[in-house]
């Protein structure tokens, strides 16, 4: 058995979720090959070669891989797919975008959002917003999986010394082209990789009020998240959303502030190690999953918490 992991990166560094995906790959087989497709991304290939447990790195470098367009990445993966028994990638917007194309053209199923590897054919994945866990057996010769990175611990980023081989690029599909990207600029950790997340809901009341969460987040070195209600109200950008259709997170500490706790939100954070809820409504469903609940007005409790941590 041989596993191919398609690496997510920004042409400069590997995304943290790749380390968790490699962990999942190692639970399937000992031979793990990492594909880095990018443009002027040799630093990424070098980083991948140092990851613990990687057998080989394939590096395809061409302008058409600069922005991970699904059509081009899928064609590249297809050019080598038959050499592998399993093809894995993180279940991020990067992986979700291109991997189903690979599965369809191989005429095999994809198993999305794998949270547990039972054996080489059998995987556990959440359905119905995480309210049900399904154990599924993939019967195809090549198993195509996206990995929910919160389900696996990361492997060490160093300690390996895999060889880097270059892989011939496939022609640009010409179907799509990149125009621009606007990434939310922040000096705080990424939501997907943060150890602590401070998240705000409708109870925050306004965009300006998120400043009190920012002060708390800065004190804790935390990322900032939000419920759908807060995003819909325009308090914060879309990519802050934690939940069924937003980001799935599992930090060491998740502090939910002014979040009532709809099941769609819980789907995105209930695997956090410790959950704190601060809400003035003591009936709020968030308290049913919180390890520590504080029934209080967030506008006094949050600044007080920030102060207490100083």
């Amino acid at each position: 058995m041989r596993v191919l992991v398609v690496a997510e990166h920004d042409n400069q560094s590997l995304k943290a979720g790749v380390l968790n995906t490699i962990q999942a790959a190692r639970k399937i087989a000992s031979e793990v090959v990492v594909l880095v497709a990018g443009h002027e991304a040799s630093s990424v290939a070098q980083a991948a070669a140092q990851v613990e447990g990687v057998s080989k790195v394939l590096h395809a470098d061409a302008a058409q891989y600069a922005h991970a367009l699904a059509e081009n990445i899928a064609n590249l993966v297809l050019s080598i797919a038959k050499e592998y028994t399993h093809i894995l990638t993180p279940a991020s917007t990067f992986g979700k975008n291109f991997l189903p194309r690979v599965a369809a053209l191989l005429d095999v199923a994809q198993v999305s959002d794998v949270i547990q590897v039972v054996d080489a054919d059998t995987f556990v994945r959440p359905i119905y917003a995480g309210n049900v866990l399904a154990t599924v057996k993939a019967t195809d010769a090549i198993k195509v999986l996206t990995i929910r990175t919160t389900g696996f611990d990361p492997v060490a980023a160093t300690g390996g010394s895999a060889a880097i081989e270059s892989l011939a690029a496939q022609a640009d599909s010409g179907l799509a082209s990149f125009v621009e990207q606007t990434l939310t600029k922040s000096s705080r950790p990424e939501l997907g990789a943060a150890k602590i997340i401070v998240s705000g809901g409708r109870g925050m009341g306004s965009s300006e009020n998120f400043a009190i969460l920012e002060a708390l987040a800065d004190k804790l070195g935390a990322a900032i998240g939000a419920s759908r209600a807060a995003v819909d109200a325009g308090y914060v950008p879309n990519d802050y959303q934690v939940g069924q259709t937003g980001k799935i997170v599992a930090p060491q500490l998740y502090i939910a502030v002014g979040i009532s706790g709809a099941i769609q939100h819980l789907a995105g954070m209930k695997d956090s190690k410790v959950i704190v809820a601060i809400n003035k409504d003591e009936e709020a469903p968030i308290f049913q999953v919180a390890d520590y609940g504080l029934v209080a007005d967030l506008f006094t409790a949050v600044p007080e918490l920030t102060q207490a941590l100083s």
């Binding site: 194309r101 199923a109 119905y128």
Partner: protein, 249 residues
């Protein structure tokens, strides 16, 4: 241009599903079923493109049991022109759904297919991408804004960390994210009118598609229940618990 919109009948998003006692499947007998919320957004987007003079005809397609006609009628009441149900009682996995939709696309020749980015039952997030691949088309997934000019669509996509804009040649598959639009409410007179709109019923065999089950569900179970913890009296005791009991700060 013609736009085809794929809509799925799913357990209503307000229903908390239960697992059957033998763990073989989820129990969806007698629960409320609705159109997948992301597919409603897809239908709305097609209607807006028609109102903007870009789409000429909107064809709604659903795959599954006879009762899928209900959601097709809902889509027709929103503003779809006609509907197709590919009827089967068999389970339809994403790969088979993509093959059925491909066959319908080849018959109808739309310039754009819009689907929800994922169905809220199996949360697979695959069908649109698979369909695009099987057709050899470009794709624009997780769309939050769609603009069509000439033979090209410019789409703003929701990605981890922000937004990305891509230009894709027509024909194209677009999958709708949450903030593409806010679907309209259906008005009663339109529900009456929708009853008269054409709704064709086909079978997978009519389309020459063999439904395969590449994935076998061995069992389903409820995840471990997270127990409610304790209420703390004030901020100071919260800090104390986090430092000394949970040891996370």
């Amino acid at each position: 241009m013609k736009i085809l919109v794929a809509v799925k009948r799913v357990v209503d998003y307000n229903v908390k599903v239960r697992v059957k006692s033998d763990g073989s499947d989820v129990d969806i007998a007698n629960v409320k079923m609705s159109m997948n919320p992301f597919d409603e957004i897809a239908v709305e987007e097609a209607i807006r493109l028609q109102e903007a003079g870009i789409a000429t005809e909107i064809i709604l397609v659903s795959l599954g049991v006879k009762a899928c006609q209900d959601i097709l009628r809902t889509g027709l009441a929103m503003g779809g022109d006609r509907a197709i149900l590919v009827e089967t009682d068999e389970e339809i996995q994403p790969l088979s759904a993509a093959k059925l939709l491909k066959a319908v696309v080849e018959k109808e020749q739309p310039k754009m297919v819009i689907l929800g980015k994922q169905a809220i039952d199996d949360d697979a997030n695959q069908t649109g991408q698979m369909l695009a691949a099987l057709l050899g088309w470009g794709q624009a997934t997780f769309a939050s804004k769609v603009t069509v000019a000439g033979e090209q669509a410019t789409v703003i996509r929701e990605i981890d960390g922000g937004l990305e804009t891509i230009a894709v040649k027509l024909p194209v598959v677009v999958t709708a994210d949450l903030r593409l639009n806010e679907p309209r409410y259906v008005k009663l007179p339109n529900i009456m009118k929708a009853k008269k709109k054409p709704l064709d019923v086909l079978t997978p065999a009519d389309l020459g598609v063999n439904l395969t089950k590449n994935l076998v569900t061995l069992k389903v179970q409820e995840p471990p229940v997270r127990k409610a913890g304790v209420k703390v009296a004030d901020v100071q005791s919260l800090v104390d618990k986090l430092k000394n009991e949970a040891k996370v700060i």
